[in-house]
């Protein structure tokens, strides 16, 4: 390769590198440094305290609880979002006229501003004047009002439902676009060879979609684990902290309790955890790379 080609990939990458370095890594490093400090410059008592903050945060029993909640939330929501989104995408590839009408509707939950949608759901979930209980009651399905977001055992499930509702269109769009890139000839050839729908699906659709699917799921897992807005608006992490996930824990520590220096510590742990996952992912990816 000539000189131009050697530099070209880096040149193309440069704006992205600069952007990410400045807006993601730089703040993160500042936060990490601060996690070893206490006090503020304004109060004149900024000082190095070593691992003191770490000792305090890692002993917090609420931290463990929020980790558990986070794992529960992340896996359940992502998987269901994916199943619903992918399923509907397959549906939408059918040539029926109704699909054209219905597809924009499926994307709707995603288009509504996040916090408003979740506030609306919160109202719908309300035990006394929520529409869900009201309808269930009028249909004779329940006798007493259900505490969707006031009952600690139900709250997580209710929040998950909203999470799936809000996020599945992402998978719908991604997989749908992916499905479109599969050459039609492959299916025709398979049909000629006598394959039925299911075999086509397993042996053509899925392998062709492998890249898209892995990418969507990886991203999905990571974003879902980091999701804060909606849960906070729905339950604030309650009741009795049953829906408090790590991002909420972090947000509260930083902005509700004003313990900025402590806030980043859980995320550092998460960071290390995800970095290891990322390393695994890369190992798998390099194996699969054809270039």
């Amino acid at each position: 390769m000539d000189y131009r080609h050697k530099l070209l990939p880096y040149v193309l990458l440069l704006p992205a590198i600069i952007g990410i370095a400045v807006f993601s890594f730089y703040p993160f490093i500042i936060n990490v440094i601060n996690s070893f400090m206490a006090g503020t410059t304004q109060a004149g008592n900024l000082r190095f305290v070593g691992f003191d903050n770490y000792r305090y945060v890692l002993r917090d029993r609420i931290l463990i609880k929020s980790l558990v909640n986070t794992v529960n939330w992340t896996f359940t929501v992502t998987i269901f979002q994916f199943l619903v989104g992918f399923g509907l995408a397959l549906f939408c590839t059918s040539k029926l006229k109704i699909m054209k009408l219905v597809k924009p509707l499926y994307i709707l939950p995603w288009a509504i501003p996040g916090v408003v949608a979740t506030l609306a759901w919160r109202w719908m979930y309300n035990g006394d004047y929520g529409i869900i209980n009201s309808m269930l009651f009028q249909l004779g399905l329940i006798k007493a009002n259900i505490g969707w977001i006031s009952n600690p055992s139900l709250a997580m499930m209710s929040v998950i439902i909203v999470g799936v509702w809000k996020g599945f269109p992402f998978y719908l769009l991604m997989t749908f676009a992916g499905l479109q890139t599969i050459p039609g000839e492959l299916f025709e050839a398979a049909k000629i060879d006598g394959a039925n729908q299911r075999q086509s699906f397993w042996h053509i659709t899925l392998p062709q979609m492998k890249v898209v699917l892995t990418m969507a799921l990886t991203l999905g897992f990571i974003w879902t684990s980091n999701y804060y807005d909606g849960i906070y608006a729905l339950t604030g992490g309650g009741p009795a902290r049953s829906t408090e996930t790590l991002p909420i824990y972090i947000y509260n520590t930083a902005f509700s309790y004003y313990r900025m220096n402590d806030a980043v510590i859980p995320s550092i742990i998460l960071f290390i955890f995800a970095a290891s996952l990322g390393a695994v992912y890369l190992k798998l990816k390099t194996k699969g790379d054809e270039l």
């Binding site: 880096y10 916090v115 050459p183």
Partner: protein
Amino acid sequence: MSQYSALKKVSSSLKTLIAATIALVVIFPVAWIILTSLKDPQMMFRIPATIFPENIYIGNYFSVMRMSKFLRYFLNSVIITFFASMLNLTIATLAAFSCSRFKFKGKNIFLACVILTQIMPAATMLIPIYKMWVDLSMINTYSALIITQSVILIPLALWMLVGFFQSIPKEIDEAAIIDGCSPLMVLYYILLRLARPAILASAIYVSMNVWQEFMISMTLTTSDSMRPLMVGLYSFIGERTTNWGPLMAAAVLTTIPIICFVGFTQNQFTHGLGGAVKG
């Protein structure tokens, strides 16, 4: 043969029914938001709750429209979203091209870093970023908002685009290079065309994220005239209570542009690879 077509008809009708039912369930909360926005204040807290308002009440919409800065908020949202998506897509497409078509040292590390940025909690990043813009004296400027919002979404767009670029067979590249194209020409003439659905999907996703964004916009603006629509929405949430009627109306108004945008562009998704391979 007639059995087959009858079966097909039933299957089609069933599919239609299922599709329609799912659609109804999915849009129910959305429909509810719209219906609530049409309820007058008395109707809001009825027990048992009613779905449909007794009388259609458009007062809520007037409250929102009369917000003296409403048009300005709208304009700001449009400007910020448009430029942020453009900037984001430019940077991300170039980077995605680089990552999917070249082998170079550090590529895997770069990609790993990209994933890692998604794990960092956004809330804690805000203050250092804020300080940075203050030092540059660029607080409350469109540039600060646009740059921040677009860069924050680079990992997202990059990831989507890399995946799609990779799924386009490299034979096409090689064919073009044999014909005498430089790599950039390959990018411009071939890849961009072929990956159009993916690029559009990314554009939509990025735009929607920017349109709905609140925290960055709130933090980096100090005057009302620079704020986007979402921040304006928050003014309906008061110290003790939430002004539901106008809030729902505002929600509807902020969503309509997105819906139009998605509606217009969704046709692009149906372009397949078939034509390109043939030609």
